[in-house]
């Protein structure tokens, strides 16, 4: 059976070159970067090299990069660390309603610690209105965080403008760029942000390495307490192989970004254009043009996402969904909800996310296997029969 992986938002494969770069550090070069001997020197050199590569990808200084274990840790660190460092100035923070849970729930934890939180809404395309952010900012607002793009619906936010307004109002500005870094151009100076989260497993690096970039001079309270690794800002033995992999992935992403984007766009557009002619009652979610190159997210009406995923999986196709049933907590995606998509329709969420391993044939295969799946489930769906009866009745 054909196997087609279209779930690159969940995680990308590790590219061959990245694994090759990592392997020495899983074998003989096993030293701890803090050690004072050859093994330590070798490991230290490797992570400083990687730091340079990651910095170069986002237009930053190497000394501003703090390696973390994941995007989730980078977001926890950013939100908690920046807020705690600023709390003498105020205790109000502003984040968008569609942030990743690692950011949103960190903000909720701050609420438990006595901070106040304002969520900024999005429009039906998932776009955060810069003026909406500006209006949310108060005298005591210390921190604003808006993601660079949502991996779920692909919408890219006008970060530069939001950052400018936030900073004019005297707040620190953080952006979660986990979904964008390594995929589209991310330059901290161009975006004019103060802090930025990224993660390697979103762009062909390994799981286990992310980073928080914090602008030189910005204060942050460490999240992981302990040793003096990462300039005293993030304790714990450095995950050398994963950091090396992240560095290599950053280097490759920088070199190949344009050609990658072209490939992804072609695939994504082929699907976005092909699907509506084969399946009725499909909506594209997210912004039609301001979206991640590999992202094609839909709501297929009258049926539910998990069931679609299972039937797709039986045909060898891997995708994802923001339906309530696919989430462990059985709630429909807060992103779709915030975009005003009615719950019954959000249940039909289906997300195909492309990567460099995909081909046009993969798209065509989806276009071939998905319609009968949708058909089968609609034949089973009481919502669909009601719809048909009403339609017939209406005519």
């Amino acid at each position: 059976m054909r196997k087609v992986y279209l779930d690159h938002v969940a995680t990308t494969p590790v590219s061959h070159e990245v694994l090759e770069a990592m392997l020495p550090y899983l074998k003989d070069a096993y030293g701890n970067p803090q050690s004072l001997h050859d093994w330590g020197d070798e490991a230290r050199e490797a992570i400083e090299d990687a730091r340079g590569r990651v910095a170069s990808l986002i237009g930053a200084q190497p000394g501003e990069i703090i390696f973390t274990s994941s995007g989730t840790e980078a977001n926890n660190f950013a939100i908690k660390g920046l807020a705690l460092a600023q709390q003498s100035k105020g205790k109000h923070i502003v984040v968008s309603a569609i942030e990743h849970f690692s950011l949103l729930h960190s903000a909720r934890t701050l609420e438990k610690w006595g901070f106040e939180l304002t969520l900024v809404p999005v429009d039906r395309y998932g776009v955060v209105d810069p003026e909406g952010v500006a209006k949310s900012i108060r005298e005591d607002t210390i921190l604003v965080s808006v993601m660079h793009a949502s991996s779920e619906v692909g919408t890219i936010q006008p970060i530069r403008e939001i950052a400018r307004l936030a900073k004019e109002a005297g707040a620190i500005f953080h952006t979660d760029a986990v979904a964008t870094t390594g995929t589209i151009p991310v330059d901290v100076k161009e975006l004019a942000v103060d802090a930025l989260s990224l993660a390697g497993n979103q762009f062909y690096g390994p799981k286990g390495a992310g980073a928080l970039w914090v602008k030189k001079g910005a204060r942050i309270i460490p999240f992981l307490d302990g040793g003096v690794q990462e300039g005293g800002r993030r304790a714990g033995t450095e995950n050398v192989p994963a950091i090396v992999g992240l560095g290599k992935a950053a280097e490759l992403a920088k070199a190949e970004m344009e050609s990658r984007t072209d490939r992804l766009l072609a695939l994504r557009n082929r699907l976005i254009e092909g699907l509506p002619s084969r399946i009725e009652h499909v909506r594209l979610t997210g912004h039609p043009t301001q979206r991640l190159p590999g992202n094609s997210s839909f709501c297929i009406e009258f049926i539910e996402g998990e069931a679609m995923l299972m039937l797709l999986s039986s045909k060898g196709v891997a995708a994802s969904s923001g339906s309530a049933c696919t989430s462990k907590v059985l709630k429909a995606s807060h992103v779709l909800t915030a975009m005003g998509i009615p719950p019954a329709i959000a249940q039909g969420s289906l997300l195909f996310s492309f990567g460099l391993d995909n081909t046009e044939e993969d798209v065509d295969y989806v276009l071939e296997v998905l319609p009968p799946i949708v058909d089968k489930l609609r034949q089973m769906s009481p919502l669909y029969s009601k719809f048909l009866k009403e339609e017939r009745g209406g005519k």
Binding site: F302, I303, E304, E306, A307, M310, L311, S314, S323, A324, C325, T326, K328, V329, L330, A332, P343, A344, Q347, Q379, M380, S381, P382, L383, Y384, S385
Partner: protein
Amino acid sequence: MPVYNEKVMEHFMNPRNVGEIENPDGIGEVGNPVCGDMMTFYIKVDDNRLSDVKFKTFGCGAAIAVSSIVSEMAMGKTLEEVRKITPALVAQELEGLPKNKYHCSNLGAQALNKAINNYLKKQGKAGESKRRRKDEKE
């Protein structure tokens, strides 16, 4: 490690008794799409037994598998026997469900029960109206 076991998968992939019954003796609908799952059961009753059971389900794999197995478990049974199909029995018949999907087995049993209630109510009414017609004749 698949989320669902083979039995659940088999019912999901090949659900029994999907569809509607025209002029059913009872209909039971539970859930709503806002919560995630929605099931409609249709029954035909002959001689106090379910002579036919069909369903339509909007929902996840578990909801569909539960609907299928419930329809199978109920088919041909007396109303009293069907009343004894508890969520626990449904889950057991499916050889287990993931924790966060237990509620689907509730839905299946509930929908079937509702269909029976609906049948009994109609019966009651039918009985009444029959009686009334009888009365009128007398």
